[in-house]
């Protein structure tokens, strides 16, 4: 085999192979490739590819006509004739042709892009072999009210499944370790230290379940022994550059400050972006054997995710029933020993159900809402986009139908003559369908080019990585495209075909030009339909935008601006007073406070109850803070007081938010009633904590959710062992007078970094701003709303193209009428109004239809949000008047032209 150094454009080759006679193909492709290589060497790839296309298309045109039309068989003659007729009609009516093609091109481009997007979103994880048989084991969220699912399980779940269920070929679990500081001591070089956030411990059968591609190392043995490590190519290059990573030693900092060594035993090809499981570094779980021996029996240590691969041909329904017997058998050990509660007491009647979720469905599922290892998709968005894709296609089909039937008077004579000459109706229908298919085919080819060149731009906006070219070489895609062209051609062409071919020859040849006005009712109906869709879309996008603005400007209940946060403080151990003093003396900061977690990422919680008898057990989010941190946030106290650093007795005191007071059952109307009460952990421990203050509710998580009950625990409370994710932060309120410019800010950041490096140089400096963190929680929504805006504008554009065409037609039809009116003394302005009113009526009907539909959709969508923007009438008014203005502007060109025509010209010939 000659080495394939020069890859000629595949699509061009494919096209050539389809259209050019076999007899010529070999020499042409040979010539093309030869000249391609010459050009590539002399003028570069871009030029060579471009010229390849030009040459290929030239040959295609030159020689396909050769083979198609030179033969004299009846069929090809027929096709040739159909081509000719279609071409002549297209040329004669340039304006209609251009409008039709433009409309179809835009419509097909949008639906093609949406199609790619949907295909991308719905085919996550399918690149892994045998993934059909792999399931994730979910359980109810035992930390909240048991209604939502969570994908985390205790370590013992996998053990139990292995023991009890032979239907599983493999059961494997992944332990989340959080961010790990990883260091490489290169000889004679500077240490390389990074914080690895996608760092997990996996079992030795991990690669039996997920066969990720290895670039070096053996999948069977790589993760077998303790202290072995497998990393992706990119992660390996961070430490070793272009040297081989195999056999090298990396050190990972443990929670107690010691370093544990790992040997690299495998390097993976980077994990594809379409994997729900994203990671950089994997280590063997038996590296943490001591901890596993000690805690491996627990059901509440939910740092694990369990995956199971079932045997071929397993009855899933039966298996699902079977595994439900496991929690009642294995979990009681945990509830009894840790919570001093029976299984039934702990679950409080909720079923502790294990659910098997196919891995392929993880990315697009809403329940469980989080995926510990990577992004989750938005199924709602996929549905919305699919609807828009189909609607846009429908809009462009309607355009085609309207324009084709509107200009029917132009073709009525043709139909008449053909019928007189003996043409059957079937032949005429074939001709019209052939024409529409031709239009669709041309637009599709153009759309392929448009999409190919605009995808980069779409990706930049949407944050996706869509590509068109890989699909082009897939026969399945080409087949789908062909079916699409034929189907769309048929749909768009069917109504005009049946309508046009139904003309009676005698009538049309007698000169009854009423033909053009027939079918007007249907046409008007279609216009109404088009504008109903466009207006609905516009109103909906308006509200999406409004909701986004609303949430980003929402009063969170604290001053989110000017708060700088630095992370990785937990790396310094517990005593960080020295750093705090240093930060507090900087003039740039007015207040400095430490916390274990920062909004909007307060996702740790526990089960509490008030110490009164018969008090309900409730789940509270908890945040471990010092007094100064609450001052940094500027929270408003409704009752009681903040922690006082001077009082050592405050160590075991707690502060609640309003919502927590409510759920704990202390009559939420009067927050002061809670002060002086006691709360305790629901695990049955003896310790109880006095409430010393109640703060006003504030948003400490995403604004999408209702404000949850929250408890502040004193930083020094050593009777509650919840440290969140174990990460701690210093937050500083900036003094805007001192930090007035970005240079000032940079100086401040540099100083903070220097102070941290002075404590420990291996600690990475990470900072963020509180308001930006909140903004990032709806970054995805902002992106998608931008895409939605663009699609909506395109839909409106398509509708307007059709309208423009219809108006042109109508103007042509009514030229004489307008001429006579003018002669009789009508003013131009009157004519314009008269002409526009015909269409304005249609818009008014569309408005009446669009508003209830839009209201229903918007209401539905907003109901998912905890904080929703009100549905104002003015939004409807503005968007509909806007559409009306655009539509009238579209037809005004035609109406003005028609009204300005000299009646002499229009009335002269009759």
């Amino acid at each position: 085999m000659p080495k394939k150094k020069f890859n000629t454009p595949k699509l061009a080759n494919w096209l050539a192979a389809k259209c050019i006679n076999k007899m010529y193909l070999e020499e042409f492709l040979g010539d093309l490739q030869e000249i391609y290589e010459d050009r590539m060497l002399v003028k570069g790839k871009r030029y060579a590819r471009f010229m390849y296309w030009i040459d290929a298309l030239h040959l295609l045109i030159g020689f396909s006509s050769f083979s198609l039309f030179k033969t004299q068989s009846n069929n090809t003659m027929m096709i040739k004739n159909m081509f000719k007729i279609a071409w002549r009609n297209a040329i004669r009516q340039k304006q209609f042709t251009v409008l039709n093609l433009l409309g179809l091109m835009i419509g097909i481009s949008i639906s093609l892009t949406i199609g790619l997007f949907i295909h991308h979103e719905t085919t996550y994880d399918t690149f892994l072999p045998e993934i059909d048989r792999v399931y994730r084991v979910n359980q109810p969220n035992i930390w909240t009210d048991w209604t939502a699912q969570m994908s985390n399980t205790g370590p013992n779940v996998a053990v139990a499944l292995r023991e009890e269920v032979p239907e599983f070929e493999e059961v494997t679990r992944i332990m989340s370790l959080g961010s790990q500081i990883t260091n490489y001591k290169a000889e004679a070089k500077k240490d390389k230290s990074f914080e690895e956030s996608a760092f997990y411990a996996v079992e030795n059968n991990f690669f039996e379940v997920f066969s990720f591609e290895f670039s070096e190392g053996n999948p069977k043995t790589a993760i077998e022994g303790p202290n072995s490590m497998v990393m992706t190519r990119t992660a390996a290059e961070r430490y070793f550059g272009y040297e081989s990573a195999m056999g090298k030693t990396l050190e990972v900092k443990q929670w107690d400050g010691t370093w544990q060594s790992f040997v690299v035993t495998g390097v993976l090809v980077d994990v594809p972006s379409k994997s729900h499981l994203q990671f950089d570094v994997l280590v063997s779980l038996n590296s943490y054997q001591a901890q596993m021996d000690r805690d491996g029996w627990k059901w509440i240590w939910t740092a694990f995710t369990t995956y199971a691969k079932v045997n071929k041909g397993t009855n899933m329904a039966a298996l699902n029933d079977k595994i439900q017997a496991i929690p009642p058998k294995y979990a009681p050990a945990t509830t009894e020993q840790i919570f001093n509660q029976s299984f039934e007491e702990f679950t409080a009647g909720n079923p502790w159900k294990l659910t098997l979720q196919p891995v392929k469905e993880i990315y697009l599922s809403e329940d469980p809402p989080y995926n510990a290892f990577g992004p989750v998709g938005n199924p709602q968005l996929v549905k919305v986009f699919m609807a828009i894709g189909i609607l846009v296609l429908v809009l462009s089909c309607i355009n085609f139908m309207n324009l084709s039937t509107a200009r029917s008077s132009n073709r009525a004579k043709e139909v008449g003559i053909r019928k007189v000459l003996g043409s059957e109706r079937g032949t005429l229908i074939k001709q019209f369908i052939f024409e529409s298919t031709l239009f669709v085919a041309v637009s599709t080819v153009a759309a392929l080019f448009i999409v190919n060149s605009s995808l980069g731009w779409f990706n930049a906006i949407s944050g996706k990585e869509l590509l068109l070219t890989p699909y082009l070489s897939q026969p399945a895609f080409i087949a789908v495209l062909l079916v699409f062209v034929l189907l769309l051609g048929f749909i768009a062409g069917s109504y005009p075909a049946f309508y046009l071919s139904s003309f009676k020859p005698i009538q049309v040849l007698k000169g009854k030009m009423s033909a053009g006005f027939r079918g007007k009712g249907i046409r008007n109906g279609l216009v109404v339909f088009q504008f109903t869709i466009s207006m609905t879309l516009i109103i909906c996008t308006f509200f999406v935008q409004k909701q986004l603005n609303y949430t980003s400007n929402l009063d969170l209940g604290f001053a989110k601006e000017n708060v700088l946060q630095i992370g990785n403080i937990e790396q310094m151990g517990f005593d960080t007073e020295r750093l705090k003093t240093e930060l507090a003396t900087m003039p740039a900061f007015t207040k400095v406070g430490k916390s274990f977690g920062v909004p909007p990422y307060v996702d740790s919680g526990d089960r509490y109850k008030s110490t009164e008898p018969e008090a309900p057990v409730v789940a509270l989010s908890n945040l471990r803070v010092e007094a100064d941190y609450l001052d940094v946030l500027g929270l408003e106290f409704l009752a009681g007081r903040n922690f006082d650093q001077a009082l050592t007795t405050d160590q075991y005191k707690v502060i609640l938010n309003e919502e927590a007071v409510k759920v704990l059952g202390w009559g939420g109307d009067d927050p002061s009633s809670a002060v002086g009460q006691f709360v305790a952990l629901a695990s049955g421990s003896e310790d109880k904590f006095e409430v010393i203050g109640v703060v006003k509710d504030f948003n400490f998580a995403s604004v999408r959710q209702e404000i949850a009950p929250l408890i502040f625990i004193n930083l020094d409370n050593n009777k509650v062992w919840d440290y969140g994710a174990g990460l701690s932060f210093y937050s500083m309120r900036l003094n805007p007078q001192v930090v007035a410019s970005s240079e000032d800010l940079q100086t401040v950041l540099d100083r903070v970094e220097a102070s941290i490096k002075a404590v420990d140089a291996t600690i990475p400096f990470e900072y963020s701003f509180l308001d930006e963190d909140f903004e990032n929680t709806f970054q995805e929504e902002s992106r998608m709303s931008l895409v939605l805006n663009i699609f909506t504008i395109m839909a409106l554009l398509i509708a307007c193209l059709g309208l423009f065409g219809l108006a042109a037609f109508s103007a042509e039809q009514r030229l004489k009428e307008l001429g006579i009116r003018k002669v009789l003394g009508a003013r131009i302005s009157e004519l314009v109004v008269l002409f526009s009113s015909e269409f304005t009526k249609l818009f008014l009907i569309a408005m009446l239809l669009a508003s209830p539909i839009a209201y229903f959709l918007v209401d539905q969508w907003l109901s998912d949000f905890a904080n929703r923007t009100p549905i104002h009438i003015w939004v409807f008014a503005v968007s509909m008047l806007g559409t009306l203005a655009i539509a009238i502007a579209t037809i005004s060109y035609q109406s003005l032209r028609a009204a300005h025509k000299n009646p002499v010209d229009t009335l002269r010939s009759e």
Binding site: D31, G62, F63
Partner: protein
């Protein structure tokens, strides 16, 4: 068709085929014509012309001579037929005669 004579581009292509003596195929004909005429032409135009000339019976062709550079594909080698040669000569004759009739040029002799 035979009496129609040669078009200008056809003549150039035919001449190029003669120059290349049995080695002529799409690309080197294109290069040859480009070299002598100094204009750039499309590969497709050459192919179309070559086939038209073959249809007129002025060229004949056979497949042969694959090279690695062409992805192991053969090329079609064209050769002038006797009638092609006659056409060329006829065209040449016509020009010669007409040149000789230009008065300014003959004035010096």
């Amino acid at each position: 068709m035979k009496n129609k004579g040669l078009g200008e581009f056809e003549e150039l292509v035919l001449l190029a085929v003669c120059i290349l003596k049995g080695e002529a195929y799409g690309i080197n004909v294109k290069q040859e014509v480009e070299k002598h005429s100094g204009r750039s032409i499309l590969l497709g135009a050459v192919h179309i012309t070559l086939y038209r000339l073959q249809d007129k019976g002025l060229l004949k062709s056979e497949m042969g001579g694959n090279t690695e550079k062409r992805g192991d594909r053969r090329k079609r080698l064209f050769e002038v037929t006797p009638s092609g040669m006659r056409q060329l000569e006829a065209a040449q004759d016509v020009r010669q005669k007409m040149w000789q009739l230009i008065p300014q040029l003959n004035a010096g002799h």
